[in-house]
């Protein structure tokens, strides 16, 4: 049997994996990059979250830098800001919100100003005039000075000190002096003691003219500012507003943008971007938030230590619900929105490197994120669609999945069995244990089948094979369709019985077929009671829910009930039930990316130090391979310990042998055994190497069969090995061996996919 490799890297097929609208809808579910609640609430767009982080780590200069992005007048702003952020703090729903404004005050007082970098800044060409004093004017000067407009300020006050004192009475003397100094350091041309009634003539010669609300009304008594763009349109005047510090600072920001637009002769209403406070769809878990009471500030506000301690209470709101539970997302350290976009782009590439193929094939498709994400983002669905798309466009490499697919063909070919219970033609039930159960624990399958036959009436057929999950996970939709048809056809020959699934993933796959009735064996065992000879497991154990049982409350409940009947004391673990992570087998991760699969397994096992009980044979196998005491619930029910995890060849042997034994024991049929004229011996080194390199004993036999036909081999005098090779399907296998009287000893084996041929000239 052979699966066709894609023909070429030069195939120009393209198919969109999602419509642009569907992509946007999916992406919008991920709120990881949404602003924190405090940040969204601030009309000035202060990154309060970053500010808290800087203060908490004692980076006062950094904190000052963050704050100064909003305005150079930090003492003024922090003294009078109404702090709309504070009521939005996530902690305020549990206890005290962070004292953001008090921390800002501390930053304005103690944060060292970054040394001027000596950057020569070129002034803009367009000139700006500003008339009048007050809060709006001060903040607007800050904005325009930063934008490097040549700025002339006309005011009635006789000097800078009195200019700065207007509307700023809430500041203490020290703060006022400090802000006067800040203003003096800006490159602004002040014209004190100006008669503001002359505005109309004084503005001549300036490209843009601005005024405080008071000054504008002095010149034009009916002047009104359109607060969206801060303009008195009739006079083409950028005009301020009344109100407190926050309103003035926000008004100044909008006004500065209007100045930019006017200076470029553009409509001030357009291209303004998002201004002011915004909504946020962020989700943040408050689980583990500890310090819910604020640090008290003294009459002068916080000292450095107090501010650092208070800022340290900030939980740095962000949504990481998916990544917290998923080893795959942690491995690539990408959030679903970014990952989806990169996968979407990857799938659109016709020629060149597809950098995201590995992440696409590394996801276990387990659906955990669809439960942990507050908006149900299903990264597995995206990766699954991407795989199907790659198959459709001939971009899916066969290498990552070929072994698993061949294994499926083996399960549904050589190792396949489908027979009614002896004595019946049609059956009421069919037991479908799943390919991994037969591969890992054949004795358990045998015991379970015999038990079902003895305790159920109406006949229990047996079907040993693969449900098709493997080709479904691989994105091979055509092969999956064929498998569905194959299974349905076989079931019809049995009289379309109700399926008793031994594996939750099989249950899930088979339930998706039209018209099939499927039940888990665990539910049936709850009804029937434990069989004679059932084991006991009277120790604490962690129950690992199978990813195949996500959303399947019946299965999850029945397995727990069964565990209880067996005497198990189940310990609670994080991420159980619908939130359970995949063991690393799902989605063929174990084949496509053994490293990520291993991280998944380890992540599962970190939840508890107790032995693990699972109800999927793949989980059982992977946990045991990682060295943990690991039992499948059916092993306990039937008192059949499957023992150490089998290697890849043993898994095939187990399936074939189970079929042979059952055929003989129950149906009285003898199977043909392939007898070879020679014997093969494998060194331990060879066996370990073959398991790691995914080389089956049957592959080695095929090489040796070929050798005996052709006599083709190489002799290496340095190592004293003979070396034979054979191309099997898409792979060339090489075997290093030594001869002995009745056969060969295999010492090493390796393979490659490239085909090697002689060339002339």
């Amino acid at each position: 049997m052979i699966i066709e490799e894609r023909s070429s890297t030069h195939v120009y097929k393209q198919k969109r994996m999602l419509s642009k609208e569907a992509l946007a809808a999916v992406e919008s579910l991920c709120v990881h990059e949404q602003p924190a609640y405090c940040v969204a609430a601030c009309p000035l767009k202060l990154d309060a979250k970053a500010l808290m982080a800087a203060v908490a780590r004692g980076d006062w200069a950094g904190a000052r830098g963050i704050y100064e992005k909003v305005t150079p007048f930090t003492r003024l702003l922090s003294a009078g800001c109404e702090a709309p952020c504070e009521s939005k703090c996530r902690l305020s729903s549990l206890g005290d919100g962070i004292e953001i404004r008090e921390i800002e005050r501390a930053v304005a007082r103690f944060g060292e100003k970054a040394a001027a970098k000596g950057l020569l800044r070129f002034k803009k060409k367009k000139t700006v005039a500003l008339f009048g004093s007050g809060l709006f004017s001060i903040f607007l000067i800050g904005e325009l000075a930063r934008k490097a407009y040549p700025l002339t300020v006309f005011c009635a006050e006789p000097d800078l000190k009195s200019f700065m004192a207007r509307e700023t009475g809430f500041m203490d003397g020290e703060a006022l002096a400090a802000e006067t100094e800040t203003m003096a350091a800006l490159d602004v041309d002040f014209r004190f003691s100006t008669n503001l009634a002359r505005m109309d003539s004084l503005r001549a010669g300036f490209d843009v003219c601005c005024a405080s609300a008071g000054a504008a009304r002095q010149a034009w008594p009916g002047a009104r500012s359109d607060e969206r763009i801060m303009m008195f349109r009739e006079e083409n005047l950028v005009m301020g507003c009344e109100g407190g510090v926050t309103a003035a600072a926000f008004g100044a920001k909008k006004a500065a943008l209007t100045v930019d637009r006017l200076a470029q002769n553009l409509d001030p209403c357009n291209s303004r971007g998002e201004e002011g406070p915004c909504s946020t769809k962020l989700y943040t878990s408050t689980e583990g938030a500890e310090r819910l009471r604020k640090v008290a500030a003294g009459p002068e506000g916080y000292d450095k230590t107090g501010a650092e301690s208070e800022a340290g209470r900030c939980i740095q709101c962000r949504c990481e619900e998916c990544i917290k539970g998923c080893a795959y997302l942690r491995h690539y350290h990408k959030f679903p929105r970014i990952l989806t976009r990169e996968i979407y782009n990857n799938v659109s590439i016709i020629m060149g490197d597809h950098m995201m193929n590995k992440p696409i094939n590394a996801c276990s498709l387990c659906g955990q994120c669809s439960v942990t994400c507050p908006n149900g983002y299903d990264m597995g669905e995206i990766c699954h669609i991407a795989r199907q798309n790659m198959v459709a466009t001939d971009k899916m490499p066969l290498a990552p999945h070929e072994f698993a697919l061949m294994d499926m063909l083996f399960s549904n070919g050589e190792a396949f069995l489908c027979l009614p219970q002896p004595g019946y033609e049609k059956c009421r039930y069919v037991f479908f244990p799943g390919c991994q159960a037969s591969a890992v624990a054949p004795e358990t399958v045998k015991a379970a089948y015999k038990d079902l036959c003895s305790r159920l009436s109406g006949g229990v057929a047996l079907m040993l094979g693969c449900c098709g999950a493997i080709c479904d996970w691989a994105g091979r939709y055509e092969m999956y369709g064929e498998t569905v048809e194959f299974i349905d056809e076989k079931l019809r020959t049995l009289g379309s019985p109700e399926i008793i699934a031994g594996c939750p993933s099989c249950k899930k796959e088979l339930s998706a077929h039209e018209g099939l009735r499927v039940r888990g064996i665990w539910e049936l065992l709850c009804e029937l009671g434990l069989p004679e000879g059932a084991g006991r497991f009277e120790r604490p154990a962690a129950l690992h829910d199978s990813c195949g049982a996500r959303g399947d409350a019946e299965t999850q409940r029945a397995v727990r009930r069964l565990a209880e009947m067996l005497g198990c004391r189940l310990v609670d673990t994080d991420y159980s039930g619908d939130r359970s992570p995949c063991c690393g087998y799902g989605g063929l991760t174990a084949y496509a990316n053994p490293q990520v699969a291993r991280e998944m397994t380890q992540s599962c096992l970190q939840r508890s130090g107790e032995p693990y009980i699972s109800y999927c044979m793949a989980c059982r196998d992977r946990f045991a391979r990682e060295g943990r005491e690991s039992r499948h619930i059916l092993e306990l029910v039937y008192g059949t310990a499957a023992g150490a995890p089998p290697d890849i060849s043993r898994k095939r042997y187990n399936r074939l042998n189970l079929k042979r034994e059952l055929l003989k024991e129950l149906w009285g049929q003898e199977s043909e055994k392939v007898e070879r004229e020679y014997k093969l011996e494998f060194t331990d080194e060879a066996l370990e190497m073959m398991d790691r390199r995914m080389i089956l004993e049957s592959d080695v036999y095929a090489v040796m069969d070929g050798l005996r036909e052709t006599g083709e081999a190489v002799y290496d005098s340095e190592t004293d090995y003979l070396i034979a090779r054979r191309r099997l399907g898409n792979v060339t296998f090489w075997v290093k061996y030594r001869e002995k009287e009745d056969g060969y000893v295999v010492h090493r084996a390796y393979s490659h996919r490239m085909n090697v041929v002689q060339r002339q000239g």
């Binding site: 894609r6 070429s8 890297t9 081999a713 005098s717 390796y750």
Partner: protein, 71 residues
């Protein structure tokens, strides 16, 4: 002159078990997914058996395979 992606010399230690002659440095080509790479490998001058050493298969060959698979 034709570029060879890889050259390996049999160095006299390899021989063809079938033809009983030493392998020699010969011209060969790796083919994968419709891409070809000329190489020089130990070849039997009589029957044409091309030998791919283990280090080559698991090193350079595997690396090229992986690169091409993601093209």
């Amino acid at each position: 002159m034709e570029k060879n992606y890889y050259t390996i010399d049999p160095l006299g230690k390899l021989s063809c078990a079938k033809c009983r002659v030493p392998l020699v440095k010969g011209k060969a080509k790796f083919m994968y997914l419709d891409n070809g790479f000329p190489v020089e490998l130990p070849v039997c001058p009589v029957c044409g058996f091309v030998y791919v050493p283990e280090e080559l298969a698991l090193g350079k060959v595997l690396a090229v395979e992986k690169a091409l698979e993601d093209k």
